[in-house]
Symmetry: C2
Subunit: 430 residues, 2 copies
């Protein structure tokens, strides 16, 4: 029996919305948003889409009208009552009322501000300008929309069984990864794949497959909507956006040198335990750690998001030792370009030396490599970054010069202020 | 929205019936049934289940109560109005009214007779005794039920995503076969996999995948229900059952020697064109062809169902030549233990020398080899054969001594009467 009402209802949608909830976003975005709402509410920031994979000509693949419809749909969203209840009532990292009542009240009334979209050289120029706590919430939906519209563009020409077999292959591929991860001792792995997912439904499938296939080894997802729906942990702490904007706001070189620590000082006041995770690579990890104030010694962990991950973790261990800390009590989170082999390697290398956790992103939720001709569904490197704060350009250096961004003169200035020497270039895959 | 009525309806079924239609059977069964109904209506025949794969202990895998419920459900079935309309109104091999009105009237009122079931040595003894045109219709549903109950027994312990990935793997495996077959020139291939299918839904999926993936190269299915549902050709002619029963009924050795030709004489009267296909191997192909009457020269094709298929086809070609026929106008149908490689090989070998067609059975609709631990879903060799006719044992020799059946003394007698020499033994896989 077909439910006629359901069929009619489904067919009256003008579009098939990609992002249907304001909490279909990464958990750390909300944590950072609350921090910004408290500490820097009056900052004007510009976020911009950057497609590092120039060969993927998005403006030729994706119809502008469809893109606008999807973005407009996100603008129409507001926090639902159940979502608000979940954010207010759920425990995050064992803590109740992670989100303060004043923030929740603001969030309940928040709507995403407008966007600016134009085509240039086969790419979309998509920017969001406005109040920092508002525009920062565009990052994840904008990326998810672009990624999924690209998937749809490729899937659009495929026939029914071809499609079913495509997903059968993708499921098989993911399940083989899950099976390979089962034997990794003391594994702790989370889904960090919202921004570059193949699609929402696929991410949700991947999460559920990890739940069944890995049990306790799967510790949660960065996606709040999925965490709520599947009743699992929401995972995440903070990102480069905070030191980048804080740094851009610095009035002189001395203030600039202090800006990344100022971020963590604000964070320190608000959070403890598992949320005290240092992301040290924005302007070079080694310099950041060498000059770190004493109070950072006691922080729980370090997230390695660029450069060679094993080297990054060794440096973290050495730093903790040099500060008189016991690394076996500390946590290293790997979150850059992971796949099964890398997870196995890193797990083996750091077993018993430091606690290890993995944030698995693109190659969890979008590994469609090799599944269609011309590799047309392979993931690509799309980011959406804060490029300006109160009119000044932001800068990111990271531990991989291929991930650096900002105006050339500012990059030079930042390298000088943060005493960044020669860096080893690494390919940016995803 | 969940359709509440549908959910409640689905949950009130006492069982999930495996065979839900009297035409969920092979097309040739109905053609043979009509022939028997006309020519040998008063014969009493016993069909018996034979599990050639002794290591699959069916009575330990499958609950007797569940098996009885499934068999009882088949007994309750009658031809539906739409099914009757389809059989009466559809064209089969281009012919209208393939089924005569008197046969259709009988079939519309037919119910399957009772069965006899007991357990012995970890196997089921399942027999059907009664009027030939009735009991012969038990063969395919009985096999399909046993095969699917065995699948269910294995699937029963699997979790949700494990199951989904199992089917994803099976789909991928089948699709790779379809893709490999696409490049075979002049391919004509049909689904012959009803009796040993993994399940009904899976067979239906396989057929649809072949329709999409192979287009014109996929010529139809032996399954009448699926042919009706998917609006494709129903495929099939006749089987060993006819010469086996005719031979058992022979009063002396002279009559026995003529029995296989008598079958085809009855067939000749009723059918022409594509339905005139010789199945020569029941008591040895070579002797059958050597002694064949002249009127068989003009028959359209020969089906190769045992022995080495290439040798069988070469012998068929030589026979046609020896009878002054042009083999390029003739048809060879391969239907024994096929898989992609064999199809490619045989296609290449006989390209341009004879028309070739393939009936692809078990490894189309039940290739779950290697997909679960202990290969517990691998297909196995289950048959359901006419073992007695009017109280006398039947005999089958075929071109492979491993496929021979019947009492030892009768096998010797048949070998003498049909002058069967030494035969080359071949493994029976499926």
């Amino acid at each position: 029996m077909i439910d006629i009402a359901t069929r009619v209802y489904n067919h009256k949608w003008k579009i098939d919305p990609i992002v249907r909830s304001l909490i279909d976003t990464d958990f750390y975005k909300l944590l950072m948003c609350q921090s910004v709402f408290r500490n820097k509410p009056d900052t004007t920031v510009t976020f911009s889409l950057i497609n590092r994979s120039k060969d993927i000509r998005l403006a030729e693949l994706i119809d502008e009208g469809e893109l606008r419809e999807q973005l407009d749909h996100v603008k129409s969203l507001s926090l639902s009552r159940g979502e608000s209840t979940w954010l207010r009532g759920n425990t995050f990292y064992g803590k109740r009322q992670m989100f303060r009542p004043d923030f929740m009240e603001w969030f309940e009334n928040m709507r995403l501000p407008d966007y600016h979209l134009e085509k240039r050289d086969g790419q979309y120029e998509l920017t969001f300008e406005g109040s920092w706590p508002e525009v920062m919430l565009w990052e994840i939906p904008a990326l998810a929309i672009l990624m999924e519209l690209r998937s749809r563009a490729v899937l659009n020409t495929m026939k029914k069984f071809e499609l079913q077999v495509l997903y059968a292959r993708a499921m098989t591929k993911l399940w083989e990864k899950v099976e390979a991860l089962r034997s990794v001792e003391n594994l702790r792995i989370a889904d960090f794949g919202t921004r570059r997912r193949h699609s929402y439904l696929w991410q949700d499938w991947c999460v559920q497959a990890m739940m069944e296939g890995l049990g306790e080894k799967f510790v949660g997802t960065s996606n709040c909507r999925i965490a709520m729906q599947r009743e699992i942990e929401a995972i995440g702490t903070n990102a480069h956006e905070l030191p980048m904007v804080y740094s851009a706001l610095a009035e002189d070189d001395a203030a600039l040198a202090q800006a990344p620590y100022q971020v963590l000082e604000d964070w320190h006041e608000e959070h403890d335990g598992m949320l005290r995770v240092i992301l040290p690579d924005t302007y070079g990890t080694q310099g950041f750690l060498d000059r770190a104030p004493e109070w950072l010694n006691e922080w729980t962990g370090i997230r390695i998001d660029s450069g060679d991950p094993a080297t990054g973790a060794e440096n973290a261990i050495n730093w903790w030792k040099s500060r008189g800390e016991d690394p076996t009590k500390k946590l290293v989170i790997f979150s850059d370009g992971l796949d099964v082999e890398k997870v196995r390697e890193l797990s083996a290398q750091f077993q018993g030396r430091v606690r290890v956790s993995f944030g698995w992103g693109t190659l969890l939720t979008n590994d469609f490599r090799g599944l269609v001709p011309d590799n047309a569904l392979a993931p690509f490197s799309l980011v959406c970054k804060a490029i300006k704060a109160n009119g000044r350009s932001t800068v990111k250096l990271s531990d991989n010069p291929n991930k650096a961004m900002g105006p050339a003169d500012q990059i030079e200035r930042y390298k000088r202020v943060f005493a960044v020497g020669t860096q080893k270039a690494q390919d940016v895959i995803v």
